[in-house]
Subunit: 264 residues, 2 copies
């Protein structure tokens, strides 16, 4: 099926999910919406985030997409049931694939989850991991400074290291053997987080797992793209195109063209 995959995020973070999808499914077209006029979602209430997620989804579904990826942990944590009730296309969030991988990866049944305040408070990872394996103990920590550190480009300096050490000290003490990077910005801090943990702890990137699930669902529903046309890459933002391109290219690792500013 030659329709695009739609993804939305509160801003640019979801581009790390898009990157994984492009890498795994290079022939699929993608439409990406970043709600940059209202970013971030991670500090806001569930009610507000659900309202935003509904508007984001509606916008993309009106553009005719075959599958919707909620490429934002906070929105995935609180809005998926509402979106599934409202829309009929397949909807994939980033929480469940990350949770599943964590449940499979952990040997000592002690898993850590880090994310925004909104994601952690929602309890979505905790619930989802225990749904796969009720014996697992989940330890969480909200890390509100990680997003601004990444956006400032300070991913590997002393400030980033001290911040990571402060946020992760308790998870280390609890003896977790896997940590879910429960925010789409965090893969850019992977190296620093690894260094701070300095042990044998697996980091689980929800973006990678989500891309794998998208591939699985496209195949299962038999809606993969089989045309040989060059895939379309469109980007929509609700605030300045310039900033999205400049910062976004760091996240995506390639040039961003075809960005349009839209009102939701």
């Amino acid at each position: 099926m030659n329709l695009p995959i739609g993804l939305f995020d509160s801003g640019i973070g979801g581009l790390t999910v898009l990157k994984e999808i492009i890498s795994l499914l290079p022939y699929e077209s993608t439409y990406y919406l970043g709600d940059t006029a209202r970013v971030p979602y991670g500090t806001k209430s569930a009610e507000t985030v659900i309202g935003y997620a509904l508007e984001d989804s509606k916008f993309l579904i009106n553009k005719k997409i075959k599958l919707l990826v909620v490429a934002c942990n906070t929105a995935s944590a609180v809005s998926i049931p509402t979106l599934e009730k409202r829309f009929s296309i397949p909807i994939i969030g980033v929480i469940e694939p990350g949770a599943k991988k964590a449940a499979k990866t952990s040997k000592n049944k002690r898993v850590g989850v880090i994310g925004t305040t909104g994601t952690i408070k929602s309890g979505a990872y905790q619930k989802s991991i225990r749904a796969y394996n009720p014996e697992i103990k989940v330890f969480t920590r909200a890390c509100p400074l990680f997003v601004p550190l990444v956006e400032e480009g300070w991913t590997n300096n002393l400030i980033a290291k001290l911040t990571a050490a402060k946020y992760l000290v308790n998870l280390k003490k609890e003896g977790v053997d896997s940590i879910v990077l429960g925010c789409t910005h965090y893969p850019l801090l992977k190296k620093t987080i690894k260094n701070v943990l300095c042990g044998n702890i697996s980091l689980i990137d929800s973006g990678e797992e989500t891309a794998a699930k998208v591939a699985f669902i496209l195949k299962k529903l038999n809606i993969e793209n089989r045309s040989e046309k060059k895939p379309e890459r469109l980007y929509y933002v609700t605030d300045s195109i310039e900033r999205f391109k400049t910062v976004g290219e760091k996240f995506l690792g390639t040039n961003i063209e075809n960005v349009e500013k839209v009102a939701l």
Copy 2:
């Protein structure tokens, strides 16, 4: 005149301005609107911020206020001319009072300004300071991590100190003798900033200067409150009441009651 003063901010930062106004004008009633569903404004484009500022102002003016304080540096930097064209009550932003004080304070005619990306990029402080004294050289630095540091409550730890040192090193090198705290969150970092500068550099708090200007205008227009009724303190937010109260009380230094969630 027994009508309240209205203030708006992108979120909770403007409470530092409210605090100064309450301290200087304890008999005046105040209505405060924090646009917490769309916070922050400082990373967003001028066009988007002007749209938000118009909605915020309209909401407060409909509540019958006698004077409007734009208690947000980013909104003050980009929206005052638009607001003045649209509404007829007196409107006071935080930029001009801070700029005036800086122009008066600096002896060596070298002034630093720190703020959000939006405020610094707008050039509003630079323009306003030079309007008071064209001989002054203005040096600026956007400090995007200061707001999340304050909201995390990390105002005086090693991470805050290293961040302040990194942001302020060039202003120090330029030999400024005064620095304007061009963001309503920054007064909570005053001590750390002072320590890092470790010289004879004056810190100018736009909130204090704004309160003084409000007092001056009320007197000049003869619209001070002369009733002996207890002043009203009302708060409106666009997102969760709980978070506003918890974090806001740190900013205001007293209890926050009478918060209502509203849609703009």
